[in-house]
């Protein structure tokens, strides 16, 4: 393939086009509003004149003689009978009218002032000010000049000019309307020197060009007409608008030439102005948009460019791509976190270009000979869809011509080979909110029709399997593949740059499984142990222990230790830790003190704090100290082990898990009643005025605070009582405590009491006059009347409670709907502001111009993905490494609060949104799908 010399664009300059230029570049003058004659041929000097390019295949352009896809199209022009103002420049025109003298046309600043301004302007350019700064500065110059009432040169008194939106200028004192003609005359008088002071380059743009005397007519290729099935022609919106302009232009000219009354000419002139204005922008405020016969507003020039569906955002910044696929996703725990399962049907469509050389020629010929649909063998064999010859010609391979094409394949050809296992592809789920929303995976061709991936990859994509779809892109060059593998592969993204902890890790059942594997160190006989270990590829089975009867057994902690690196050490408290006052460490009665030495789990339970996503300390440590490859291996193995253990144990949960004994229910009910009575007392004392006011609050606020406190207590107590009766052998409790799913709060709401409902953080108060529902007395401030639910989800809410609960739930829904749209727009603006910044080799953050934005990235030059919870180094960890076990004692590490989980607050918010709003996300998803119009 030939390649030209690569050239760089140094700069681009946009400017106005002069009427002369419009006429010069015009291929034809347009004079008639008719488009086609009776035979259906375009009329010469009409809007569809063949000089302006061709849209019908077979015809040739009358200007350049090229066929459809070769002719770029040529502009035409309309000579306007009277000048009209261009809406796009209305602000500039106004500024210039105001800042120059109405009689002599000079900029109304003294020579000294102009001198100062000009030197400032050149100074700004030297100091690297952008065009925007200079524009603002010249605007200021104009503003300064316009405040002067008298011209310093000719002494003429100035009359204030007002702009009647969108396009009419008026002199304020006598209400005299300035016609575009007059405006143009004034602008013509401004000298070139003054224009330079106003920040304009008179060589490329004179202000009078902003008043149109000739209208450029875009080529027909820009506004193609469509032939409907019925044979009728349907014209483009722009053509419709130009027809309007031409018609009025014609009438205006006739009326003016025949000497029609001034009034009629002026009316037509204004109408022409309206049509030209809407031709440029059909959403100009102040005038009604021009409409199609059906009532739909026309899509004119500005509408083609603006907004999400405009040329810029939908065609230039964003493009549709080939070599991509989209389908439903489903889970497969036996895949590596780096893999993605691709259905065969998709794999046969997606291709990778392979260059033919002397080494692979024979193999490629064999592959081409298989054709695009190899069959016969059980195993998947890649075929070839296209062969590209050295001269760039593409040949489609079909089952019929496969043999022939294959024998013609030569060195230097390129063939488009179908996907095979191990190909690098990008995998993505919308909304792509962070960089982990698009990661590189290795292909695994599989049966079925869905994309499949490991469950641990769900959190970064925020994916679930309730119908989610995802996109896949096949990389086409070696550079792209290498870059994706090094920077984007899943294992390189285990540590999140958001909070310096793992975002990929065990979830849900993996954690429950790990709990069953390690908690209280269960014993497994040979059969069970082998069952669990069979999930792992090539491992060395450790020596079994022998019990008193001489029977072999393996312990859970022993099995878990297999997947740890051999020299691994760490110490932490697991998720089930009860936070006892005096930690008994190794002897912890809950087995919550995790101690790993030399790759052996000595004590403690592995749960969410050990291997969970975003919290897992073991995971975090391995990813940081042993590299991404080891971490990926660990995640793969530990999750399989955990699932093996879980399957061995068996696990199930149900509504029965929230059963509590009658006496416990009674205890909760009693305490609730007690609290409700207390509330009544509070309300009474409030009404009698004996309630003691809190500082800084009104009496009413004091009451609310007190009541909330009491009712909060009620729910906590109910949770405590319920928790007491739901022991660690309860599956729901295991999940909550181990951090797999759900929380103790969820459980206490199911088993004990739902608690106070709130809107905007306050008890419910709105609805009817002085009461929430007609079931209550007016002015009742008691617990039940203001949204306290003493029942549990399991016992069932009574009607008023149910209604209150719905009120509280509604707030959550509204909040999220508002939040997603608002944060989406915020993110868009932030991205637009930051998209061109990059980190340079000297550690500075700069934009594309080279201006420094930050003298050192993040002020410390540290990659947040390589930090420990945002800190560049973890001192405790260093001490532990140097001092060994003594460090814990010497530095009282165990007694110190181990600190929150990585980004626990964010995590909480995410979980909140996950649980309460998952449906909303689905809707967003489908929105994306139907993105057409």
């Amino acid at each position: 393939m030939m390649r030209g010399i690569t050239k760089r664009i140094g700069s681009i300059k946009f400017s106005c086009v002069s009427p002369d230029e419009i006429r010069k570049m015009s291929a034809t003058k347009i004079i008639t509003a008719d488009t086609y004659d009776d035979e259906g041929y375009p009329i010469e000097m009409g809007l569809m004149d063949p000089h302006m390019g061709v849209i019908e295949p077979g015809l040739r352009c009358k200007t350049c003689g090229c066929k459809v896809d070769e002719c770029p199209g040529h502009f035409g022009h309309i000579d306007l009978a009277m000048p009209v103002i261009h809406v796009g420049f209305i602000k500039d025109i106004k500024l210039m009218l105001e800042s120059t003298c109405r009689s002599c046309g000079r900029l109304m600043l003294t020579a000294d002032q102009i001198e100062v301004r000009r030197s400032n302007m050149s100074g700004m350019k030297d100091l690297g000010s952008g065009t925007i700064d200079i524009k603002n500065f010249s605007k200021e110059t104009a503003k300064d000049a316009s405040t002067r009432g008298v011209c310093p040169y000719c002494g003429a008194e100035q009359i204030k000019i007002k702009l009647d939106k969108p396009t009419t200028f008026r002199e304020v004192d006598d209400n005299h309307k300035l016609t575009p003609k007059e405006v143009r005359e004034r602008l013509e008088r401004i000298t070139d020197e003054d224009l330079r002071t106003l920040g304009m380059d008179p060589a490329t743009c004179r202000p009078e060009w902003m008043i149109l005397t000739a209208l450029a007519v875009p080529p027909v290729t820009v506004r193609p007409s469509i032939t409907l099935d019925s044979g009728d022609r349907s014209e483009d919106d722009l053509t419709h608008k130009l027809v309007d302009v031409l018609r009025i232009n014609q009438r205006l000219r006739e009326n003016r030439d025949t000497g029609a009354p001034q009034l009629i000419v002026e009316d037509l002139w204004e109408l022409l102005q309206y049509h030209v204005t809407t031709y440029y922008d059909n959403q100009t405020s102040g005038i009604p948009p021009a409409r199609h016969r059906s009532g739909r507003p026309l899509k004119t020039l500005a509408q083609r460019l603006k907004g999400k569906e405009g040329r810029f955002r939908s065609n230039l910044s964003g493009k549709r791509v080939n070599f991509s696929a989209r389908t439903v996703i489903s889970p497969d725990p036996m895949l590596s976190i780096n893999e993605v399962g691709v259905p065969e049907k998709a794999a046969r469509e997606l291709t990778v270009p392979v260059h033919v050389n002397e080494h692979n020629l024979a193999k490629i010929r064999e592959m081409v000979a298989r054709g695009p649909e190899p069959s016969g063998t059980e195993a998947y064999l890649p075929g070839v869809n296209y062969v590209i010859r050295s001269d760039g010609r593409r040949i489609r391979v079909t089952p019929r011509n496969a043999e022939e094409v294959s024998s013609n394949v030569e060195i230097d050809y390129t063939v488009e080979r179908q996907l095979v296992d191990g190909d690098v592809v990008l995998f993505n789920r919308q909304p792509s909110l962070h960089r982990m929303s698009m990661m590189a995976h290795r292909v695994r061709i599989m049966d079925g029709r869905t994309f499949r991936f490991n469950l641990c990859d769900c959190p970064p994509y925020n994916a679930d399997f309730d119908g989610d779809e995802m996109n896949l892109h096949v990389l086409q060059s070696d550079e792209a593949r290498a870059e994706a593998r090094i920077l984007m592969q899943v294992q390189e993204n285990i540590l999140s740059p958001r909070y310096g902890g793992p975002i990929i890790g065990a979830i849900h059942d993996h954690i429950t499984g790990a709990y069953f594997l390690t908690h209280d160190n269960p014993r497994f006989d040979r059969f069970e142990a082998m069952n669990i270990l069979s999930k792992l590829p090539d491992i060395e089975v450790p020596e079994p222990y022998k019990d008193d009867a001489g029977k072999e057994y393996w312990t859970g902690k022993q099995i878990f230790s297999i997947v740890l690196p051999k020299d691994f050490r760490t110490t932490f408290k697991s998720s089930i830790c009860q936070n006892c006052k005096d930690c008994r460490r190794d002897a912890c009665e809950f087995d919550a003190y995790v101690k790993i030495r030399n790759g052996e789990l000595l004590c403690g339970t592995i749960d969410a704090k050990g291997i969970g996503n975003s919290k897992g300390k073991v995971l975090d440590r391995i990813a940081r100290d042993y590299g991404s490859e080891r971490a990926a291996k660990f995640i793969n193995e530990v999750t399989r082990l955990a699932l093996g253990a879980l399957m061995n144990h068996g696990f199930s949960t149900g509504i029965g898990d929230e059963d509590i004994p009658d006496e416990a229910a009674l205890e909760i009910a009693d305490f609730n009643q007690e609290c409700i009575n207390k509330v009544s007392e509070l309300v009474e004392s409030y009404q009698e005025g004996t309630l003691e006011q809190m500082p800084g609050r009104s009496l009413r606020e004091t009451l609310e605070v007190e009541v909330m406190k009491v009712l909060g207590l009620a729910r906590d107590q109910a949770g405590r009582v319920a928790g007491k009766h739901l022991g660690m052998e309860n599956p729901a409790v295991i999940m909550a405590r181990a951090g797999a799913r759900g929380s103790m709060l969820n459980l206490s709401q199911m088993a004990g009491c739902v608690g106070q409902q709130a809107v905007r953080g306050e008890r419910l108060s709105r609805g009817y006059w002085d009461r929430t529902l007609p079931h209550f007395q007016k002015g009742d401030l008691g617990a039940y009347a203001r949204g306290f639910c003493s029942n549990s989800y399991k016992s069932g809410l009574n009607p008023t409670e149910f209604f209150f609960h719905a009120m509280g739930g509604r707030e959550g829904l509204v909040d999220t709907a508002v939040r997603t749209s608002r944060s989406g727009y915020m993110q868009r603006r932030l991205v637009s502001a930051l998209e061109d910044l990059k980190l340079t080799n000297d550690g500075t953050v700069r934009n594309t111009v080279g201006t420094v934005v930050q003298f050192k990235y993040g002020e410390d030059g540290v990659d947040p993905a390589r930090t420990v919870r945002g800190k560049a180094i973890d001192l405790d960890d260093l001490f532990a490494e140097v001092l060994g076990d003594e460090a814990n004692v010497m530095l009282h590490m165990d007694d110190r609060d181990v600190g929150d989980d990585y980004g626990s607050r964010e995590k909480d918010e995410m979980e909140y949104s996950e649980e309460e709003e998952s449906e909303d996300y689905e809707e967003l998803d489908s929105d994306y799908e139907g993105g057409g119009e």
């Binding site: 400032n120 100091l127 000297d842 201006t851 420094v852 003298f855």
Partner: protein, 88 residues
């Protein structure tokens, strides 16, 4: 110190970082060390409250002078930035 032409010294406020006016020599040296030209520096307007305080101390500050700003940073305890004075 001629601080009478400003009503309030913002530099004394806890939330405002330290501002120092660099001499031409210092500025040149720092720019050289960083391998930057003046036009690549971030800008500060000469009507900025902080620059006004500096002006009350050093007299009028011409465009093109460099101000050193030392601020407390969450990640690095202290962070030094430079800004170029421009017309406001």
């Amino acid at each position: 110190m001629a601080t009478d032409n400003i009503s309030f010294n913002v530099l004394k406020h806890v939330l405002v970082p330290e501002h120092h006016l660099l001499s031409e020599g210092e500025a040149e040296e720092i720019l050289n060390n960083m391998g930057m030209t003046r036009d690549q520096l971030p800008k500060v307007r000469n009507n900025d409250a902080g620059v006004k305080v500096l002006e009350s101390i050093h007299g009028p500050i011409a465009e093109g002078r460099v101000v050193r700003i030392v601020r407390k940073s969450e990640t690095a305890q202290e962070f030094v930035a430079y800004r170029l004075v421009t017309k406001g």
